[in-house]
Amino acid sequence: MTNYVIRKILSLIPMMLVLSFLIYLGIELMPGDAVDFLIPPDALSTMSETQLNEMRESLGLNDPFMVRYVKWLGGVLHGDFGYSLQSGVPVATLMKNHLPATIELTVTALIFSSIFGILFGVISALKKGSILDQMLSVVGMIGVAIPQFLLGLICINAFALHLNLLPVGGRMASMDQNFFERLPYLIMPALVLGFSLTSGVMRYARGSMLDSMGKDYMKTARAKGIPEWRLNLLHGLRAALTPVVVLIGFRLPMLIGGAVVIEEVFQWPGIGALFVDSVRAQNTPLVMMIGFFSVLLVLISSIIVDIVTAALDPRIKLS
């Protein structure tokens, strides 16, 4: 087990190298560069070719591709993530300012969707064919089908503008508010994001639970005379949980990039807007950093999923 984890983590290193190169290459293949984006069109008309070239030179954009990549990589290995080409702020500072907000939002949404998804999925399965089951199915379909921004706007209109219950957007009124004072800001974006995630888990949990309920071992357990609740929750759910946990596990990468639309709608100062902007501006250091974290999270999630499935299902051995 420990061996497995160590080996997996070591295997991350070459993978990260290859993937970081591919992301770098991707940015390089886009037309234009950061300077084209940074200079406003009216300023461009007054600037000479030499001036532009000087700017490129000062940002290091004139070096060949490989040289720039190796320079970037060397910086990262020394803990220097570079500066944002747009604002000149160190990338590390930007990440430190924006990442917590996004994680706060996505973690809440993930926890919410996992708990309610499993809960409603199991209820749906136990009451299969009932009105409740059908209602949950319809709500689930709506959750999948409705665009997040639309639901977000509807909620803002209803709860913030008409009912005046929650703030319209933002993350906090001032820096010195504690978590509970900031909670009202979190509720709406987290629930809207969570709602669309819930239905997936719900449908999955329902299917998995129904599958497990039809298994022979359920009949064995029933023949033992144990009560229905124990039968369903222990024997049924326990075996049904593995695929659901895998689904949730593979959603972990969402922690970083999964809330772009919601962050935009609710003016949430997370990483989503930052990422979109920096890609448009070909702000290589920042794009690289966010991309790097996303990729890392995907790889780590798959290790976590492996470990959790092995813990849940005795038939799976890590080796």
């Binding site: 071992y217 064995t220 357990a221 023949a223 033992k224 005379g225 144990i226 229905e228 326990r238």
Partner: protein, 341 residues
């Protein structure tokens, strides 16, 4: 009430219907038999004839969309006569009986155990739920003892293992250990060896014979293997399309079959040693659609002796000899003929 002391379960005129899509399948159409203490009763018949439904009715494990329409199942337990057909299937009384008074083992032991719990945990569960053990520790001790009794080597280690680490035969032994954990009066085995290979089959049956001897358990064995019947059964019931067409002492039924279906079944089995020239007589046709049953005797359309009388209704039970019953018009006619001679 007058009752034979040895009878543990008495099934009388049991009718069970299954419902689906507005259609109704009359699965059991009047089944009567008795399970006796320390005896093995075999039910044989083709797939879909109602063998398993009979077993599940006794255990209260019928599917949700089914109903006992008529008849009774009486379980003699702890000095009382309990009417199982009147108990709520998932109710407390029925749950107490299941596992404690009667237990069941199934066809495929590899899927009958929950893969995510250890074998020991699953046996403990039965013990703890029926006050067979005072604590988890005590239960584990008893589970180890049970596994040992069932002939599982290294029970102390095996009890901690998961079902996927058990072979098919081992799993079935573990299932039997679980079933026998509370020393039930009745053990129902629904084709317990169909999924196992022949040598393991023999071992499992030996184990069951052993249990019958030592615990005085009444065993209801569902099978379609006539060889098993000849070997193990004290009594046998032959079922066809929801009826017991012939029943009685196993030796009597097998050596002097009276119902054309029983005869046909026995004629269709190859006998080892008779060589490849032996002639097997298959039963003509196939079982009728359960939703579109023949009006009279269910076997009439496939029966070589069928007469117009056979289409008038299900023949009544008639005695072939002491303790040997048969439901057949042909047999009745033959008997009358003999009486007139």
């Amino acid at each position: 009430m007058e009752r034979n002391q040895d009878v543990v379960v008495k099934v009388e005129d049991l009718h069970v219907n299954f419902y689906n899509n507005d259609r109704c399948n009359k699965v059991l159409r009047g089944v009567s038999f008795e399970l006796k203490k320390g005896k093995i009763m075999c039910i044989v018949g083709e797939s879909g004839c109602g063998k398993s439904v009979t077993a599940n009715s006794i255990m209260g494990l019928l599917p949700d969309l089914s109903r006992i329409e008529k008849g009774s199942i009486t379980f003699h337990y702890q000095g009382e006569d309990i009417r199982i057909d009147r108990l709520k299937r998932k109710g407390k009384e029925m749950r107490k009986l299941r596992g404690e008074g009667m237990a069941m083992i199934f066809q495929d032991p590899m899927t009958a155990l929950n893969p995510v719990f250890t074998v020991g945990y699953q046996i403990n569960e039965a013990l703890l739920y029926h006050n067979g053990a005072s604590s988890r520790k005590d239960a584990t001790k008893k589970s180890i003892q049970l596994l040992k009794e069932m002939g599982i080597p290294l029970p102390k280690q095996r009890v901690k293992e998961y079902p996927h680490q058990f072979s098919g035969g081992m799993s079935q032994r573990a299932m039997i250990a679980m079933a026998m954990s509370c020393r039930p009066k009745v053990l129902i085995a629904d084709e317990p060896t169909t999924a196992l290979d022949v040598t393991i089959q023999a071992q499992i049956f030996e184990l069951m014979l052993d249990l019958k001897e030592t615990n005085d358990t009444a065993i209801l064995l569902i099978t379609h293997d006539m060889g098993v019947v000849a070997e193990l059964a004290d009594d046998v019931a032959v079922m066809y399309m929801g009826n017991i067409v012939e029943s009685g002492d196993a030796r009597a039924v097998l050596t002097r079959p009276s119902h054309p279906y029983t005869k046909a079944l026995l004629d269709s089995i190859p006998v080892l040693g008779r060589g490849r020239e032996q002639k097997l007589e298959p039963i003509k046709g196939s079982t009728p659609d359960p939703y579109n049953r023949p009006a009279g005797c269910q076997f009439a359309p496939r029966c070589a002796y069928a007469t117009p009388e056979c289409e008038t209704g299900m023949p009544p039970e008639s005695m072939v000899e002491e303790g040997h019953m048969c439901r057949c018009f042909h047999h009745l006619r033959k008997k009358e003929g003999e009486a007139n001679d």
